[in-house]
Symmetry: C2
Amino acid sequence: MSLNLQTHTEHFTNPLYLESGRILEPYDITYETYGTLNEEKTNVIVVCHALTGSHHAAGIYEGESKAGWWDGLIGPDKAIDTNKYFVICSNVIGSCFGSTGPISTQHPHHEPYRYKFPVISVKDMVKAQRILFDRLDIHRVEAIIGGSMGGMQALQFAIHYPNFANKVIALATTHATQPWAIAFNKVAQEAILKDPEFQQGYYDPEVIKEQGLSGMAVGRMAGHISFLSHESMNKKFGRDYKRTDGLYELFGKFQVESYLEYNGYNFTKWFDPLSYLYITKAINIYDLSRGFDSLSDALDKVSADLHLISFKNDLLFRDFEMKEIADEMTKLGKKNFDYFCVESDYGHDAFLVELEKFDRYITEVLDG
Amino acid sequence: MSLNLQTHTEHFTNPLYLESGRILEPYDITYETYGTLNEEKTNVIVVCHALTGSHHAAGIYEGESKAGWWDGLIGPDKAIDTNKYFVICSNVIGSCFGSTGPISTQHPHHEPYRYKFPVISVKDMVKAQRILFDRLDIHRVEAIIGGSMGGMQALQFAIHYPNFANKVIALATTHATQPWAIAFNKVAQEAILKDPEFQQGYYDPEVIKEQGLSGMAVGRMAGHISFLSHESMNKKFGRDYKRTDGLYELFGKFQVESYLEYNGYNFTKWFDPLSYLYITKAINIYDLSRGFDSLSDALDKVSADLHLISFKNDLLFRDFEMKEIADEMTKLGKKNFDYFCVESDYGHDAFLVELEKFDRYITEVLDG
């Protein structure tokens, strides 16, 4: 059977009440589906994307060569089997791939929001998705799954909509963003803000797309450090030099430098800097226990089967952060969870690249 | 007894032949001494500074409040006891505190070198110091000690001038800079280069001193991440917020953000961006085995007693990097070394701040 990839955008005119007390109105949500919804609507799996991801999680668009970000996991006969399941992945609000974000036109003006866009939280992203699913007449799903910021969304779903999903699978994430991760985001934010081309948000998106924004490139380079690990960097690059005759040139390049440069500058051509500021802000303020007395109180709400997957050498969200969730669940006397630390040297990016290390586990959870 | 702090600058007109094949001529070396040289000149200890350090390792200058960077370790009755020892610390060439660097005037022109300054290596820094000591009629010293890039210098001394020191103590360093550390340097270099105020090195140093250079500030923020550890960040900052009412403001601040901002911007007022480019380059190309068939061949030259001190949660120079040196020494059948991993949660900066965890060890080595 085919992937049956479909991309849609839904428009909402009802106000979205945000955690900050502010309102987003109107707003769009762009989403993608794979597989076919069964008649009873009991085969839905929600996939949540990370910071720079989008609704395009699987398949290849016509005329393009690059597949969606979790294509290895989603499709016919893959771990998230589209022969069985109807998969929905939506672009989070605040992002820049179709859902309303800071670069969207602010109604009724004809100008982008820019800094007038309200600060959104991961909880707000989840709330907007819940409203989208309502619109699609989907009121309960088989599973919600996501890694990194996608894992944060999955956990927020588990706590704030405890009856919405039968299973929640959160990978490479945390219960509250730690200072280490906030620090990396700070470097990126500061690099963007101080880039004169950014013009306090009044940049020309077309110019940015062509030339890139060096501030965001620098920030993204720092991000890439946090996505890898000492081990994966040693394996990938070691001390290899691009041109051995350039060792004593001031700007000669180690392989790791070329990698950061290429990925940093390439990134600025496809991601919006205002969205980067807003989404990193959402990640920074993410804390499952906000609004509760404690993390324990928050986790007490969970009624779905909760599956926690961490990665051994993840330097962005450490394995012990996921373990802390598991420990709290144990203390609460909950039985409906498990915690699995994947042996991996890759670092945070493992949830995107080392699929073979956890795809069977995902299959077991979904079939279980 | 007093510290007997003295600051001097020596001028050299003989060419300094650099590892790159280029020549530095003439050049100055600024250095500081503490304690008193005994008649036999047998009580000299050489202290080597790190990336942004200087010759000012101990004591407080008149009218200032901040002490030298290793003041807790150097002084009367301290681990490096100036009642007994005559301590010399010199500013490395390429730096910006008196020794010749890229912002120095290029003879016979009246303009700074800027990019015309040759790329220097840690080996070159050490060679220049050896020439300084010759000038001071010091031909053998009791010990050489340094951390981070200072540790690199200490190790280079041990290999290239095997008969110069009785004891070599290297802390929080490596035998060759790994891609992880190079990556952090890359972020800083790119941030400096892309800052329009940097003007390809044609900035006005006075303007920089007053206003700071936001590119270098961003780069330094990334550096600070590598100097700390997850554990120390959690202890220092946790998720504390500077103003709790600002959580939903786009640019509200977590404590960790304020810390990075303060330290990043403050740094740009006292360190030169061209020196930062040149010294990080020297660190990137540092590799003890260069010019030898292997690390083992290089270490085979060591004749001083070698003392290797690593720090448990150092994320910049991992403990196993120091351990690799120790392992090679063992394989070579050498007996004149020891390796000691300090239990510390602090991260790389531990060699500057957790002195109480290793100062007794230093005393034992020096008195032994």
